[in-house]
Amino acid sequence: MIRDITLGQYYPEHSRIHRLDPRLKIIVTLVYIVSLFLVKDFIGYGIVLVTVGIITAISKVPLKFMLRGLKPIVLIIVFTFTLNMLMTQGTILWEWGFLKITKEGLYNAVFMALRLVFLIIGSSLLTLTTKPIKLTDGIESLLKPFKRFGMPTHELAMMMTIALRFIPTLLEETDKIMKAQQARGADFETGSILRRAKALVPLLVPLFVGAFRIAQELAMAMESRCYRGGEGRTKLNALKFRGRDALAIVFTAIYMAAIMAERIFI
């Protein structure tokens, strides 16, 4: 059952988007998010849609995967949509008791829902096309300026990397312990909430013990390979700014210009 859970939504492919510098991708994503808040009408969303469409096509990520990212926030979208639709004052289109739908409300609702959808799709593009390890590399590199103020950037990035790396390991461990306790007659699936919470003890205790064991072993392995933090540490796969990254910057600039122009002139 636990096997079915997929974590980290990286989609392995060899597209131009995948090979972009992760630092650039993070910044571009931030720029994109800002741009969404500059859009003031549906023509602006048209530009966003075309751009996202082109990037998706280049990235070779199937549309199905893109839309899958929306699943967890469907509820939030519906909630926002309904609230906007019912709470905005204006020309009344439909009325029933205290509920009324206005023309402006409907417009707002669609507008806000679209903003959320684009927000999620854009940021999933980042995680779909960037390996978690690359992502933390990029974050570490971007945070470097804060090192001067005493921020342990390398250590933070290392912690993120290790955490990501051990998610599947811990899931596997959970699966194993669950099976072992089920073989001893443990029941995780039925009974009241209190009973179920109690049933988790035989799962959680060995899991914690195991996590500490794994942590200890990893620390030992790192020590024995002379790991001593980020000071003076070089990278095997150093992040490098390439031609395609420059191209991406130009592309982003054009996109931003279009959004701005649309906001000001139309």
Partner: protein, 289 residues
């Protein structure tokens, strides 16, 4: 009590690009009181197969009968099955969680809904069977024991459920030679006293040859060979081809045969090898004099 498995197939990650057939159309029967050894290289489907036998995994297709109960049927009560089929996983010491050894062993029997007295009696019996002194260990934390002792506690936790079928998945993996032998002797004595079916999954060909009545050879999810240890270990070439081997004594016998000293009998352990060598040497001396 017998086990009957019919056309069992299990697929991991069905429908995804990396779906794998871990168990592929496996059928067999095990008679009451039999000791079965299962061998096969890593990833051959051994562990997946045995996890079906007490309903932890559900097959893609096929059916399993324990006694006359079909455990692959939809409406079957899982606790009934787990009472009858005990499964000791690989590295079972990682499943320990209670404050004391006796409480941990009592976890299984408690889940079966037994009375306090019954549970207490079973805990004492199980600890005795795995060779842990009740007075010394019952009140101790399982986390402060040695690796071998932890494993005994974990095995006792399954034995205390008094299963009619006991399945052990590599119970000696990662143990020192002394603990290895202790655990094997323990399995033997449990079988001797409790009867029932024992299924042992192992990478140690010597152990399997010594203990099993019949050996199942798994390869690529399929049941490649079934037979007595003598039959299975006679074909060294085949076992080598699928990444396995034969017990050391059998290998020596095969090497001797290749050099012109055929034994003409089954040699699977040191005693049989010693007898053969003694007979051969005394025969050679007699013909000389």
């Amino acid at each position: 009590m017998s086990i009957r498995v019919e056309n069992l197939t299990h697929i991991y990650n069905k429908g995804l690009a990396y779906e794998t057939k871990a168990v592929d159309d496996v059928s067999f029967t095990v008679a009451d009181g039999e000791f079965i050894g299962i061998i096969g290289h890593t990833g051959s489907g051994k562990s997946t197969l045995i996890q079906h036998l007490n309903g932890i995994l559900k097959p893609e297709s096929g059916s399993i009968f324990i006694g006359d109960a079909e455990i692959t049927a939809k409406k079957i009560k899982m606790n009934e099955i787990r009472k009858r089929v005990g499964l000791v996983f690989q590295y079972p010491e990682y499943q320990l969680f209670e404050e004391t050894v006796s409480k941990d062993i009592a976890f299984g029997p408690k889940n079966l809904g037994l009375s306090e007295e019954e549970i207490d009696e079973r805990v004492r019996e199980a600890m005795q069977m795995v060779g842990l002194d009740f007075a010394t260990y019952a009140g101790r934390s399982p986390f402060e024991l040695s690796g071998g002792q932890k494993r005994r506690v974990a095995i006792a936790g399954v034995i205390a459920m008094r299963p009619e079928v006991l399945i052990l998945d590599e119970p000696t993996a990662g143990l020192d030679p002394k603990s290895h032998e202790d655990i094997l002797n323990m399995v033997k004595s449990i079988r001797h006293r409790a009867g029932g079916i024992v299924i042992l999954v192992s990478h140690n060909m010597g152990d399997v040859a010594e203990m099993a009545d019949r050996v199942f050879v798994m390869d690529g999810g399929k049941l490649a060979r079934v037979g007595t240890p003598a039959e299975v270990f006679a074909d060294e070439a085949f076992l080598k081809r699928i990444g396995l081997g034969v017990p050391p004594a059998a290998r020596m016998a095969n090497d001797l045969a290749a050099r012109g000293l055929a034994s003409g009998r089954v040699i699977l352990n040191i005693d049989e090898m010693t007898d053969f060598l003694a007979d051969t040497l005394s025969g050679a001396r007699e013909s000389k004099s």
